[in-house]
Symmetry: C2
DNA sequence: TGAAAATGCAAGTAATTGCTTGCTTGGCAC
DNA sequence: GTGCCAAGCAAGCAATTACTTGCATTTTCA
């Protein structure tokens, strides 16, 4: 009796094995995002994964084992965000649009995990810092960039933190609206990126 | 055997009765916001309320009865938001600041209920529309106001919806950061209102 | 083909959870 | 005092849930 949970088969041997494990993870991800950790019973997970419930416990030590495995999927966020600011941009607006795209893309790409984090923030304390990692670093990273611009004299005296917060919030909100509460807010993302960047730069007055 | 759940004692007779009922509601509000609907067991609720578990079921038909009672607390939001835009303001900025104050105040005032709504959005479908009511009407109301200004020629051609979205998002995000994820983001709310209004109007360029 | 590993199946267990029942206790009004 | 009503207490019940065990079956791969 072993716990393949740990022994991470590196080789290409098992497509089947990994398939099963992946199916379980995928089912759990989906269910936990929808129903929360408690709502995603091991029974339901196994059913959705199309495997026997016992198999779930053969792959993972216990239920939290599944959750912690899932949480690993948000650990590498900061780098990706900073990469979104790496390239050379023709102007400030293009940089903002690109940053918006990157950030929003990250949110959507891992929407289930973020939902789980939101929902379970109080129940699984370790979640909190992981979760805060994306939204807050997103503000931080942009804030720093703006500050740099400011010091070069390219921007007036406005508070760069607030500016970054406003910008990032917008897409977080849009993300939540679209994927958590299914608001029939018809929006074209690319347009939102454009408009928001424009407004942040020029204001509405 | 009766269900005081329904028969809403109008008279002033019972301070005791209402006190108990209120204590139960308050405990449930707190626990559900923290642990979610499932996590808030009737046992825990009764303990936190300092009453016997049976008493809970004497006051409420069943557990969902408690939830639905709690949800009534967000039904009257739109009016309050519109009131926040009612008064006469010296300038546009003062209006925005006031709106921010109103909106953020509403969020904080009912933080538990909103948390519950976020968490339970998928499990209790009736929750969704109630929940969406605040965040989305907040955008709507402001959006309309901006549009009106625009038609009077007071604002340039920027998309008022995006502008409203940006503005509202900011405070929603700040609210989430402070009360859900306990980010050690030190912020003075009143300053945030000021700065965000300024930026929305003038831009950062 | 044959051994080993992965999965299925049947059954069960201890704990939790929502909710009920029957009875007692204590306070308030008349 | 008497009667009423809210609340406490003890006990329990049926369903669910995370998790286990033992064994049969299939799949994989050498």
């Amino acid at each position: 009796m072993d716990h393949p949970d740990i022994e991470q088969k590196l080789g290409g041997r098992g497509e089947e094995e990994q398939e099963t494990r992946e199916r379980i993870l995928s089912a759990a991800r989906q269910l936990m995002a929808q129903k929360g950790y408690k709502g995603a019973t091991t029974r339901k997970i196994s059913e959705l994964a199309g495997v026997n419930e016992v198999t779930v416990f053969r792959h993972f030590k216990n239920k939290v084992g599944i959750l912690t495995e899932l949480l690993k999927e948000i650990m590498d966020v900061r780098e990706q965000l900073e990469q979104g600011l790496q390239g050379e941009f023709s102007d400030l607006k293009q940089m903002l649009v690109s940053y918006a795209r990157t950030y929003y893309g990250l949110l959507v790409e891992r929407k289930e995990i973020f939902m789980i984090c939101m929902i379970e923030a109080d129940n699984h304390p370790e979640v909190v810092q992981m979760f805060s990692s994306l939204p807050m670093t997103a503000v931080e990273v942009l804030s720093n960039k703006l500050l740099a611009f400011q010091e070069q004299g390219h921007l007036p005296k406005v508070d760069p933190f607030t500016a970054a917060l406003m910008f990032v919030s917008t897409f977080f909100y849009a993300f939540m609206a679209k994927y958590r509460v299914n608001l029939d807010i018809e929006m074209v993302e690319e347009e939102l990126f454009e408009n928001a960047s424009e407004i942040l730069l020029q204001g509405i007055k």
